[in-house]
Symmetry: C2
Subunit: 268 residues, 2 copies
C-alpha cells in the first residue's frame, strides 16, 4: 500500500533514510521540504560504455554538473544513501531511449541493468536553506510550487558524443538582495555556486519566464530581478539532444535525499 | 640535432610554445624554471577502456589529481597546448606495461595509439611562484634539484580496478612561515591546494626523508618543518599498483608546460 504524504512539519524533521523509505514504498511527490538540512541531489544514469563521456561532460561543466558521488556499474548505494537503493529510493524517475522520454516510473525495476553507472549531482535546494536563513525569500517555496527551469542558449562544453544546452533554475530576488544572494550561493560551489546570469532572460535565450521547460511557472513578485543558476537537469537536456540508447534521470523536483548535510558543501 | 639548454634567464622568459618546441626537438631536461608564470602539468595517459576509471579516480581524489584538461581518444592538443602535440612536447615520459616501467622515452611515437586518452593534471610548481613572491623560499629550487616525492600510507580512494597510495611532494618551511605557506597554497585548489600533512613524516609512512620515491633528496635547512602536499604523480603510483596493460605518464619533474597562466588557478 502506498504511504500517505506526512504533514509538512513531519516532512521537514524526517531523517533522510525515513524519507527514502517512504519513496521506496511508492509515495511519489516532489521532495522540497523533506529532511531539512540534508542535501538533495540530481541523478543521471547511463550504461557503462557511456560513463566516461558523461563523467567528462560533468568535469567540463562543473557549474551545472557538480558530482557529489558516483555508483559504479552494479553498485546501488554508497555513503550518500547508506542502506538505500538508487533504483527505488527516489519518488519518480525519467527514462530516455534515444533521447525520447519513454516513461516516468516510480521505481526502476523494469529498466535496471547491471552495467548502469549512476552519477549523483548537486542540487540548488542545498543553498536555498542558506538563502532563507539569511532573510532572502525563495519564491517557489513561498508559492508551494517546483522551481522553474529553462533551457538556455548557453552551450555546455561537449564531451565525446554528449552535448547540449545549459539548463538554469530561476529565482526572482528583490533588487536590494541580489548581491547578498550572489555572495551566499557562491559559498556552495558543489551545488551550482554563484549564478550564471543576473537579469535579462532574453540574453540567454529565455523568451517567456512564464513557460519553463521543466518545473512550474512562478508569479514573479514586483521589484524582483530574475536570477539564474546552473541546474542539474543539464545532463538530461544533453541526453535529449545527444540521444544515447538509454539514460535515466530523476524526474525534475523529485530528487535523491542524501545523508550528506547541506553544511558539508559550504566553503569559507 | 638536439638543441642546447638555454641560459637560465632565457628559460624563464620563454613562451610556453617555445619551450614545448625545444622539448619536441629532443631537449630532455627537468622543466622547473621554464616559462615563468605559466602552469606546468602532470600527465596520465591510458587506453579508452580505462578512461572512465582513471577520470573517476581523479574525481574521487581531487587533492592529488586535479584535472586541468582531458584530450579525448585521438586528440593530441587542446587550448592548454595550442599548436602543440602531447606525444612529443614533454622532455621525457614514463611508459608502464602491466604496472612495470618499461621505458622513459623523449617522445611517444613508438607507443602512441589512437585510442589513448590523456589527462592533464595540475602541478604544485604553480603555487611555488606564489610562495616565493610572498617571501617563502622553496628549498629544492634554491638547491637546484627536483622536488622530493614520497609514497605515503594514505590510501587514495579507489575507482574500479584503480587503487594505490597517495604520493606527496615535500617542502621544508621555516616554522614561522608554515601558517603563511598553508594559507597561500590553499588559494590554489586546482594545483593541489593546501597541504595534506604538516610535520611528522613517520605518521604518513615516510621513514626516511633522505630517500624519496621520486625526484631528489634535499638538504633540510635547520629550523624548518617538512610540509607535504598531494602530488600529481599519484596516478602513476596507482598504475604501478593496479597494473593496467598500458599507461603513460610524464617523467617526474619533466612536465607539460601549458599556455595557462598560474594566476588562472588562484581563487580568492
Amino acid at each position: 500500500m502506498i504511504p500517505l504524504e506526512p504533514h509538512r512539519d513531519e516532512r521537514a524533521s524526517m531523517a533522510p533514510s525515513a524519507a527514502r523509505k517512504l519513496f521506496r514504498q511508492g509515495l511519489s511527490v516532489p521532495t522540497a521540504g523533506y529532511a531539512a538540512g540534508y542535501a538533495q541531489a540530481n541523478l543521471i544514469i547511463v550504461p557503462r560504455e557511456l560513463a566516461f563521456e558523461v563523467l567528462l561532460f560533468a568535469q567540463r561543466n562543473p557549474k551545472s554538473c557538480p558530482i557529489l558521488g558516483v555508483l559504479e556499474a552494479g553498485q546501488t548505494s554508497n555513503e550518500l544513501l547508506p542502506d538505500g537503493d538508487i533504483r527505488t529510493d527516489l519518488p519518480k524517475y525519467t527514462v530516455y531511449q534515444n533521447g525520447q522520454k519513454i516513461a516516468e516510473p516510480t521505481d526502476l525495476s523494469e529498466y535496471w541493468r547491471d552495467d548502469l553507472v549512476t552519477f549523483i549531482v548537486g542540487c540548488s535546494f542545498t543553498f536555498e536553506a542558506a538563502l532563507i536563513e539569511n532573510g532572502i525569500g525563495v519564491a517557489h517555496i513561498d508559492q508551494g510550487v517546483n522551481v522553474p527551469m529553462y533551457k538556455t542558449n548557453i552551450r555546455s562544453a561537449s564531451a565525446g558524443s554528449i552535448s547540449g544546452p545549459m539548463v538554469v533554475s530561476m529565482r526572482p530576488i528583490p533588487a536590494s538582495q541580489v548581491a547578498d544572494a550572489v555572495c551566499i550561493t557562491s559559498r556552495y560551489p558543489a551545488v551550482h555556486g554563484a549564478p550564471v546570469h543576473v537579469g535579462n532572460p532574453e540574453e540567454i535565450g529565455i523568451t517567456d519566464l512564464g513557460k519553463p521547460d521543466f518545473g512550474d511557472a512562478l508569479t514573479i513578485p514586483d521589484g524582483t530581478i530574475p536570477i539564474f543558476w546552473a541546474c542539474g537537469v543539464t545532463p538530461q537536456a544533453a541526453v535529449m539532444e545527444s540521444r544515447p540508447v538509454l539514460a535515466i534521470g530523476h524526474a525534475p523536483g523529485h530528487m535523491l535525499i542524501t545523508d550528506a548535510r547541506d553544511s558539508m558543501y559550504q566553503v569559507p
